[in-house]
């Protein structure tokens, strides 16, 4: 049994991460979903949230994803995001500043984006 699935995490303007994984956890509009190899073909709408990928070699990749889709078929999973950042690419101080600014301006969308970034960065990779 193929215990791995191929993951492509792509943002609108670049390919962010791709490789083999054993489990992918993402947040859809109806709740968190975990996809393992052999899952039923799936197409879902993603919420802004962290995506956790357990790679085949036992590591973990965390990325902040802002809007997009998850599509899975034939053990190939693609995560399409308008914006996506890997946890280690995230500039924590900048995200913190963005969070404060968003709070001050009561911009809920921006606040959520910054919050997601911070949470993704906080997960030990």
């Amino acid at each position: 049994m193929a215990a791995e699935l191929h993951v492509e995490l792509v943002a609108a303007d670049r390919s962010v991460w791709s490789g083999e994984a054993t489990l992918v956890i993402a947040r859809t509009t109806s709740g968190d979903i975990g996809v393992m190899p052999g899952h039923q073909p799936l197409l879902g709408v993603l919420e802004s949230g962290p995506v956790t990928i357990r790679t085949a070699d036992g590591g973990t990749v965390v990325a902040a994803v802002h809007g997009g889709f998850i599509s899975f078929a034939d053990d190939k999973l693609s995560l399409l995001a308008e914006m996506a950042e890997l946890a280690d690419e995230i500039d924590v101080t900048r995200a913190e500043r963005a969070l404060e600014r968003a709070k001050a301006e009561a911009d809920a969308a921006a606040e959520r984006r910054a919050d997601v970034r911070l949470r993704a960065a906080a997960v030990p990779g």
Binding site: E8, L43, G44
Partner: protein, 306 residues
């Protein structure tokens, strides 16, 4: 120095200055093509994955969605025209405008009202000079468009498609841009984005390759997925068109500037020849004046000796 020679020297100087400028523009454009091409390549995975997803939904569900269903009697069509902000790119902008005009005529012939959306200062100038109405226009990013720019362009288009036809909405969405075929060839093309016809997208080829598409489970529901998917699809198509147009613009500019540089070189060469001839004529004239003067003097002294 003779007057003629001075005139030639001055013209050579001015042509060389122009040549320097066109050469520099050629080189800048050449370096930007590579960057633009890289951007096109970087956006391809997203576009192809999205196309795959759209194909899956469009074939895998029977939901009627305003963005996928064909209206029986289309009344209005939107045409998005992508031109450049700056000139000096040969026929780049005018070719795209011509293609848009042709498409407009065709749509009018089919009895549809056409609403124009224009990207790039050249296209905006063309329409405002002819006092043709433009629903919306965007300028300032045709050199290197970002996804945010594409979003800005796509938003009002999607809104227009979603609006009822009776309230001024559109039934069809076309896009005219210059396709980057190769360094030497860029062709203006018109494509219909919406309503989605699977034979006009590359989706068909991919679907044919994959043979049977799996039966997808939609999360939360197929309508919700379509609702979210369609705008992204339009955005990514617009983004791709903007990127290709940018690459084409740079390629067209490079070619135009290359021929300008070549022409300047040619001009300098012929002007140099003319300047040489003028200098030679001056010298010849001077010699003949000296010789003539000397012989006149010799004649005069010979006369007085006698």
């Amino acid at each position: 120095m003779g007057a003629q020679l001075r005139v030639y020297k001055r013209r050579i100087k001015s042509v060389s200055a122009t040549k320097k400028i066109t050469k520099a523009m050629e080189m800048i454009a050449a370096s930007r093509i590579v960057k633009a091409q890289r951007q096109v390549a970087a956006s391809t995975p997203y576009a192809s994955e999205l196309t795959r997803a759209v194909t899956a939904v469009a074939t895998g569900s029977n939901t009627k969605h305003p963005l996928t269903t064909e209206v029986e009697q289309p009344v209005r069509a939107a045409v998005l025209l992508v031109t450049s902000d700056r000139g000096l790119a040969g026929g780049y902008s005018s070719n795209a405008i011509k293609a848009a005009d042709k498409l407009t005529e065709r749509l009018r012939g089919e009895g549809k009202e056409v609403v124009h959306y224009v990207v790039g200062r050249k296209g905006v100038g063309y329409y405002s000079f002819r006092e043709r109405p433009v629903a919306a226009s965007w300028t300032g990013f045709t050199d290197s468009p970002t996804y945010a720019d594409a979003k800005k362009v796509a938003d009002p288009l999607i809104e227009a498609v979603l609006t009822d036809t009776a309230e001024g909405g559109v039934d069809e969405l076309h896009i005219v841009f210059t396709e980057f075929v190769s360094m030497m060839t860029q062709t203006p093309v018109d494509k219909r984005l919406l309503p989605l016809t699977l034979d006009t997208t590359e989706a068909e080829d991919e679907a044919a390759k994959d043979q049977i598409l799996p039966l997808f489970e939609f999360e939360p529901s197929d309508e919700a997925v379509l609702d979210a998917l369609m705008p992204r699809y339009v955005e990514s198509r617009v983004y791709n068109a903007l990127l290709q147009a940018a690459a084409s613009e740079h390629a067209a500019r490079r070619r135009a500037m290359k021929s300008a540089t070549d022409n300047a070189e040619e001009l300098i060469k012929s002007l140099t020849r003319l300047a040489n001839a003028a200098r030679q004529a001056d010298i010849t004239q001077e010699i003949s004046e000296i010789v003539g003067g000397a012989s006149a003097l010799a004649d005069a002294t010979a006369g007085s000796d006698r």
